[in-house]
Point group: C2
Chain length 428, copies 2
């Protein structure tokens, strides 16, 4: 057992200072639980002068990343700069130097996970990334260890706090998307450029990582469908409520025969679903395993200290591996490529809202088109009419998405239909 | 790396057959994730003739426990008979024979954990027990690994499915305790002798285990306060709802200076608390860490396959340790005894319901007694009167339990008070 495990952090931003604070504030307990002192020896960042909410010994700060990467005292390199470059280069360099690596970099793992896993194996080092998905929620470790006996059938997750905050506000306050986004930006819950969150890219990276673990294979991130929340209107939130549902931006991964579905999109779920009451910036991942049944993990999906908790948990796990000589003890569970179903093949229920002429025979025409494409209507609600226009809300029975899309295209062209406003997938 | 890790199960009851089914049905995936075949070699039980819902090779069944305990092919012994004796004897014997041990035996660990941990360390074997708390929910591993960087401030858990089922029914259907218990027994959710569940003993064992992990010390199970749900009436469920709360049987463990509180009792929690919507037989554990903030774990707290999932997860973890030579990699986090606060010292809010004479000055008399004991009333609801009796519901500000109890004793003796019906602790 080593008396000291040395840690170096690259990136002194929000997650960087959070991790530093956890390592410094809880050093005694961490040492006791690991059996060795876990010491933060260096933090590299281009900016080491802006004050952060943690006091670190000034001599550990450096602008020279090689003081981390090439430091013989450092056993574990923690990459917390985010993005693909130069994060990937630093990680591969650290591994080539025999360092174990911890990261919270979802984009990098989603895009280049397989290459990094191979580099870790080749260099005989560990690579952990709990903080990359859902901040402090220990979902990755649970899937790789405690729940490993299960064939996971399905995961559904609220994995992006910004959009969950926006949707919660829209539902509770009857506000429109634009208003709430502006408010969220003011409150610091949405970034100045919110594209990655509101278009579902952030969720896509996280879902790709979770799916690759539960389906034990590599996921091509370009195969993951992602649709954001920008088209949702107040009316949809209200209609969902009338249907006993809420709308959440869900990451969904399901087994379907030899293929898997991996998709991010706004989704109607029943109010009784455990995910329905996950509100504000909280995240949650719902897992359905063939043995365990339904389990759910809930917590803060972002933030300096919650993510710092996950990163430090990884550091401690690797420190235990170092002390036991058990590097590579839990494999990456990446046993080959996952075959991802195209969205055309996905079979699900749908909600749709459209404006039509308020005249006899409209429903018959719409129903006729749906019938041609084997789309079966489960329920229709006619909303208040404005002028000579009526708003109609329909819920469809399960049908392949290709059929539904073809029907919708044709319906949008009917002279009696003014607009197909939104359509949203429905899960149970 | 061993080509085969041998497993023997003692006890072919509900958890025994569930574990056997998981090991057999998912053998291929388990082998792939572990890197070795994990093979079920023997199942010992006094009854090997009653059919179980799993088909096992007949030659692995035995009535002779020594075929497991002394079997040189068996690396991991899984104790699933429950209770203290002879489970403890079998476990210690297995360890003395160099076998790693997995169990789901909450009572044994709560009462004799320290002794077994020491035996495991002395014999250089692993001892895992994820299935002992909350069935398939991976709470123990999460606390020992992913969340290990945290000083956990507080855990609150719904850790008993039977009582949660009863309380859910009482709340939703307006039924009384006795009715629902009878119904739960019929439905198989409560045992013929329900004492251990409804009096909170089962929850006490589970909470003692969780508390010993988060507070990294041994807990004397006799120091854990346990109060069941038998005194709760329909009126209390209704009053709770009026107060914006629900009543749950919670296991609560909190740090309080150098001491800890560990207590099981019915508790009013706000409807907005994540635990408030955990219903029916589901369990959930809410954890508040100094870094991670609030996280919650939700799932099935019992059942053959959910618990089998947890037990098999432990088997896989130990198999990985065997393959890496990393036995004892995660220590038991038992660094000394926990000092448990007496209930007299616990400071909390209270709900109380009483019947009084419907006459002027009653509230003044009651208020006077509370005042003498530094108990401050937050709110009073006067309920409908029956004959010349009125029902009064009070909620108290935070106060030490000793003060509250003394006040209640004196109030019960006031001539104007017919009965102090119930009082229940309140958490936020």
């Amino acid at each position: 057992m080593k008396s000291r495990v040395g840690v170096g952090i690259i990136g002194f931003g929000n997650i960087g200072w959070g991790t530093a604070k956890v390592l410094l504030d809880n050093a005694a307990e961490i040492a006791q639980k690991v059996g060795s002192k876990v010491e933060l020896l260096k933090i590299a960042d281009l900016d080491i002068t802006t004050p952060r909410p943690v006091t670190v010994p000034p001599n550990i700060l450096t602008t020279d990343v090689t003081e981390v990467l090439n430091n013989p005292e450092i056993d574990i390199v923690v990459e917390l700069i985010g993005g693909v470059n130069p994060a990937k280069k630093f990680i591969l360099q650290a591994m080539a130097n025999g360092k174990h690596v911890v990261t919270a970099n979802k984009e990098l793992i989603a895009k280049h996970g397989t290459e990094i896993f191979e580099a870790a194996a080749k260099n005989g080092v560990d690579f952990y990334f709990e903080g990359s998905v859902c901040g402090g929620i220990p979902i990755i470790a649970a899937l790789k260890t405690s729940l490993a006996a299960n064939n996971v059938q399905e995961i559904m997750g609220i994995v992006n706090g910004t959009t969950n905050y926006i949707l919660t506000k829209m539902a509770n306050e009857g506000s429109d998307f634009g208003e709430v986004l502006a408010e969220a930006q003011k409150a610091g819950y949405a970034e100045a450029d919110p594209t990655s969150d509101i278009e579902g890219y952030d969720a896509k990276y996280k879902l790709a990582i979770l799916a690759s673990i539960v389906f034990t294979g590599s996921v091509n991130v370009d195969d993951v469908y992602a649709e954001g929340i920008t088209k949702l209107a107040r009316a949809d939130m209200e209609n969902a409520r009338e249907l006993g549902c809420v709308i959440k931006l869900l990451g969904i991964a399901k087994r379907n025969g030899d293929k898997v579905q991996i998709r991010v999109h706004p989704t109607l779920i029943p109010m009784t679903h455990p995910l329905a009451t996950v509100n504000d910036v909280f995240n949650a991942v719902f897992v359905r395993g063939d043995c365990v049944g339904d389990v759910m993990f809930y917590g803060r999906g972002a933030g300096s200290l919650p993510t710092g908790s996950a990163v430090t948990g990884d550091i401690m796990d690797i420190a235990r591996n170092i002390n036991c000589g058990s590097v590579g003890r839990v494999p990456q569970l990446n046993f080959g490529p996952c075959a991802v179903q195209s969205m055309d093949e996905v079979v699900t229920k749908y909600y749709m809202r459209m404006r039509v002429n308020d005249q006899p025979g409209v429903l018959a025409k719409i129903g006729g088109v749906f019938g041609e494409h084997q789309v079966s209507v489960a329920s229709v609600i006619q909303k208040d009419q404005v002028a000579d226009q009526a708003e109609i809300v329909m819920v469809m029975h399960k049908v392949a998405e290709a059929n539904f899309r073809r029907a919708i295209e044709q319906i949008a062209k009917l002279p009696v239909v003014s607009e197909v406003c939104t359509w949203i997938r429905v899960e149970e």
